[in-house]
Each structure stands twice: as C-alpha cells, then as structure tokens.
Amino acid sequence: MSKRRFSFPYLIWMSIFIVVPLLLIIFYAFTDNSTGKIVFTLEHIKAIFEPLYLKVIGRSLFMSLIATVVCFILGYPAAMILANKDFAKKSTMLILIVLPMWMNFLLRTYSWLSLLENEGLINRFLVSIGIGQVQLMYNNFAVVLGMVYNFLPFMILPIYSVLVKIDKNVIEAAKDLGANNAKVFGRVIFPLSMPGVISGITMTFMPALSTFVISRLLSGGKITLIGNIIEQQFTITGDWGLGSALSLLLMVLIFVSMIFINKYGDESVGAGGLL
C-alpha cells in the first residue's frame, strides 16, 4: 500500500501534462467558437477528409514506412554485431550510436544541411572528383535520410537489448539439434528478438510519422508532412480546431498501426509488444 504513494508524483504529472492536453485537443477538435460562443461541431473532422490532407497523410505514412524499413535493414545487423560477445569494439560502437542522441535534435538535423546542400561538403567532393553536382536536398531522399539518421538508434537499441539477453545455451541447443547458422537465426534468434523488433519499429515509425522539423529543414519546406500541416494550423493559420482534428487523426493512425504491429508480433512470437 505504502509503495503506491510513490506513484503520486507521476500520476499528477501525467494528468496535468498528458490527460489535460489530450482532453483539450478533443475539445478543440469538436467545438467552434468563431461566433464567440462555444458550440459543438463536426466541421473540423469533415475538413480533414479533404483530398489535400489525405494526400499528405498518405505521403507521411509512405515516407515514415520507408524510413522504418531502412532503419530496420540497417539496424538489425548493427544490433547483432553489438550483441556479439566476441566483438571487441563493442563499447566504442555503442557510444558512436548513442552519441548523436546527446546532441540537440535540431542541431543534428541542421548539420545535415551543410553536408547535403548544393555547396555542401558532399557536393564539393563530388565536383572535385568530376561527378558533378547532385541534387541531394529538397527532395524525398533527404527527408527519409533525415528520418533514418535521427531514429536509427531507436531501432538498434531495443533490438540489441533483446539480442544480448538471448541465452547462449538456446543457440547451442539449436545447433545441437542440427540447425546450421542460417537456421539458428531464422528459427530461433529472429523469432526470439521479435519483441525488440516491435518496439524498434514502434519507436522509429511513431516519431517519423509525426515529425515536422526534419521535413521542413531538409526539404526546405517543399515536402509537407502531416506534422507540418498540424504545426501550421497552430502557428500560422491559427485554426486550432482543424489542427486538433488532424492531431486526433494522427493519434488514431498511430494507434491503429500499433495494434496491427503488435497483433502481427503476437501471432509470430507469442510475446508481448508495447501496447
């Protein structure tokens, strides 16, 4: 009983900073006060189904999906190398992976500008070796790159932490039962690492879907994601109702994809995910 007391600070924190804002978003999404009086309305909800917004949502989903897949393809082998007990440079590599996270998110993303822009480091190098200037920024590539760069550690670390915990005996048991290295991986290591994969996917897909900084900086405002639209509603247009409605939609999208991911994960491993 007494231990429950220690959760009070968190409960207070949660209600003030999570529950109240959530309720406010719902409140704004379903009310209209343009006439000076607060009235219930479904106008904002209807508005988000305009083709323009649907297209942006589609693009956001697509790009964050690509970024998640790339993170997975890059991250899983990295996590495996890290989890290998015999890998001597383990702590160095772990620091290299975590190090960017010590830096400010904006700063990290800005630093890509100086690499990617037309007069940037990469292009100067390409020009100097005779390939010539390549358009690296202001396109989908740059945005996905930014997402992958920023969220890759969130894919690697959960997978790594699950992989290091796999009992070495279990791997030996699989070999003992006749499995070669490929089968040990396919039938034992990968299925056992699914909880890590699921949280990795969750932790990269969610922020990638809602980001607005990466797309604004690396596309120079050319590529609009759902995050950008929401931000605009609050900061530029001042249409809090539509902004809140779009935020709600984003939450629903994330919620649905998490259910989907967890359900798939449950079927394949019988182990719990994040939800």
């Binding site: 005996n169 030996e172 048991a173 003992d176 039962l177 070669n180 056992l192 491993v269």
Partner: protein
C-alpha cells in the same frame, strides 16, 4: 559391454592461463551410462562440451565410432545434449520444441507428429504438446528438453547437470526416470554432475575428475570401496582418511596401532593413506581392542548416529545405529577387508575437503 562409441585421446584445453583440461583420455562403451563427476571447475562440463562440439580442444583427438570428429561442427554430430538450464525455445510450444530437430531434418510432418506424441509419452507429458513452455514446472521443462534430444535418436545423449535446478524430491524422482529411460531407449548416456550420490545411483561407470585430470575411472562400487587417492575418497561418500605407515604386507599401523589388512605391495615401513568408511568402524568395549578412544560428539542422523571418537592422534568418524555416551572410552576395531590402503596422494586432504564443500 559393447564396442567403444566415443574415445578421447590426450585432450588439453586452456582458457587463457586457466587449464580446464589437463590431458584426458577415456573411452565410452556403446549403451553405457557414464558419469563425469567432480567439483565445479574440475573440467567435467568442458569435457562434455568438447564431445558435443561446442568447444575445440587445444590438442588431442575425439573419436566417434572410431572416426576423428574434431572438425565436425556441433550440428552435424550424431549426439544430442540436455542442457543444465534446459535451454528450451520459449517462442515455441512444447510440441514444437520437441519437433525442432526432425523439422530441421525435413522429415514429413505427419511422421513428426507421431514421434512427438511418442516421446511425450516416454517423458510422461502426454497431452502437453500445445502448452507454452512458460506454463511448465522445472521438472516438466527438463522432460521436454530430454524428449527434444531423444527424438533425434542420437547414438549418444549428453546431459549437463540436468537435475541441478530441481528440488531434492523431484531430483530423486527424475533420477529414477532417467535410469528407466536409459534402459528403455538403450542409447549411451554421458552425464555430468557434482553430486556423488547421483553419480553412484545412476552410473555404470564413474569418471572422477579434479583440476582437469581424471582421478579414477571405475564402477560405482569400485570407486566407493577402492578409491585411488584421498581426493576420490573424500569426494565419494564420507570417510576417515588417516596418514599411516605400512609395516609390512597385510599389516598397517593406523593411529599408532597395528591393524591387519588385505593390501600388499606397499613395501615396509612406508607412508600410506588409509581409508576407512565411517560405517565400517566397529566400536567395542575398551578392553576388547588395542586402539582406544573417547567419545567426543554424538549426533542423530536419522538412519544412524554419527559418533566422533578421539583416538591417540586421529579423530575417527563412526556411523553406528547404537548411540554412545559422550566421554565414554571405547575400543575401535576395523575388519581387515574394510581397511583400504592407498599411496599418499600428491594433493593434500585439505584441498579435497574444500573441493567437496564447493
């Protein structure tokens, strides 16, 4: 028994500066239940892992059916292992765990299902195929591990302290079951344990190991009655190990008193170690024996009393069903064939004692 199925020739293995195995040669007959017994760090598990293919020896050969298998990887060896902590696949059901080996070998699924049912029956887990591993008790998990190994019909089953994690009662039951399984399936078992009683109960042959070396190989009766050295005597059962002098053939001076014995060939007036099991010491009225001592401690142990007798230069441990009074003076006698004379071991008795207490 049958022919040699596994033979180890002069195996050495070091981990850094630590010598895990210091020259081991032994063979295992087909169908035998052989136990590697010793304290932790004696090299028994390393020996098993070398046979299983999980470790490479620094030098020496491993023969399987007469063929050198040093370079054969674990997954191609005709043997299976039951691991100490079961090492079950927690993402699979009981049935899928047992079917793992045959599935890898691409045997047809119907056949596998039949085999799985059959082996579940052998390990007394009928009807458990769809259960989750996490819902099983330790004993049940160990049975799954055994079934998962046996279904591959290995020629040799390696068991690495398989009962170590179970409580006493369950361990006794599983010992009986293992023994029955060994008789029923008729394959060779190589068993690793630090529990001397388990080794005596289960084995056809016991290999006692210490510090990476074999101390003695023999049947449980041999090892118990005729230990090679003080280490084996201390490790297997309780014993009085007394620094003594061999006066001449069949006569040994123990604790200052000459005893008749049956051993010969140790020379005259030469130092030896003598082993007398506590249950072989017979207490008589003090006027009926040459060796006299005072009772210093009497403890009730259930089946017997443990009585400590202070002799002239040695404190004797005696197991007797008759209690004695503390302070009473008694005579100590031992039948000649219960006195076991050994060459003095290079290791001192203290080392053996600490080893046992690990």
């Amino acid at each position: 028994m049958g022919k040699k199925i596994i033979e180890l020739k002069n195996i050495f293995k070091k981990y850094g500066d630590f010598t895990a195995i210091d020259g081991i040669s032994l063979y295992i007959n087909e169908g035998e239940f052989l136990t590697l017994l010793g304290p932790s760090g004696c090299g028994k598990t390393t020996t098993l892992r070398i046979i299983g293919g999980f470790e490479q020896p620094d030098s020496g050969d491993i023969l399987f059916d007469g063929i050198r298998i040093n370079d054969v990887p674990a997954h191609k060896r005709m043997l299976n292992t039951v691991f100490q902590k079961y090492a079950l696949f927690t993402h699979l059901t009981v049935g899928q765990n047992i079917a793992f080996g045959p599935t890898i070998k691409k045997i047809n699924p119907e056949q596998i299902q039949k085999e799985v049912k059959n082996y579940l029956k052998i390990v007394n887990l009928e009807g458990y195929e769809d259960r989750d591993i996490s819902t099983l008790s330790g004993g049940q998990q160990q049975r799954v591990a055994i079934a998962r190994a046996l279904i591959n019909k290995p020629k040799v089953l390696l068991l690495d302290e398989p009962l170590g994690a179970l409580d006493l009662k369950l361990r006794k039951d599983m010992q009986d079951e293992l023994k029955t399984m060994h008789t029923d399936v008729g394959i060779t078992f190589i068993y690793v344990t630090h529990d001397q009683e388990e080794a005596l109960t289960l084995s056809d042959t016991i290999v006692v190991m210490n510090n990476g070396r074999i101390q003695q190989i023999g049947t449980p009766v041999d090892i118990y009655n005729e230990p090679n050295n003080a280490f084996v005597a201390y490790f297997i059962g309780e014993s009085n190990i007394i620094h003594s002098t061999m006066v001449k053939d069949k006569l040994v001076r123990i604790d200052g008193v000459e005893f008749e014995c049956v051993d010969t060939g140790f020379g005259q007036e030469s130092p030896v170690d003598v082993v007398v099991r506590p249950e072989d010491v017979v207490l008589v009225p003090s006027d009926k024996a040459k060796l006299k001592g005072k009772v210093t401690l009497v403890t009730f142990k259930g089946v017997h009393y443990e009585i400590w007798i202070e002799g002239p230069s040695f404190e004797w441990k005696v197991h007797s069903t008759i209690p004695q009074m503390i302070g009473e003076e008694l005579g100590v006698t031992v039948d000649p064939f219960n006195i076991h004379v050994m060459h003095q071991a290079p290791i001192d008795i203290k080392t053996a004692e600490t080893a046992v207490n690990i």
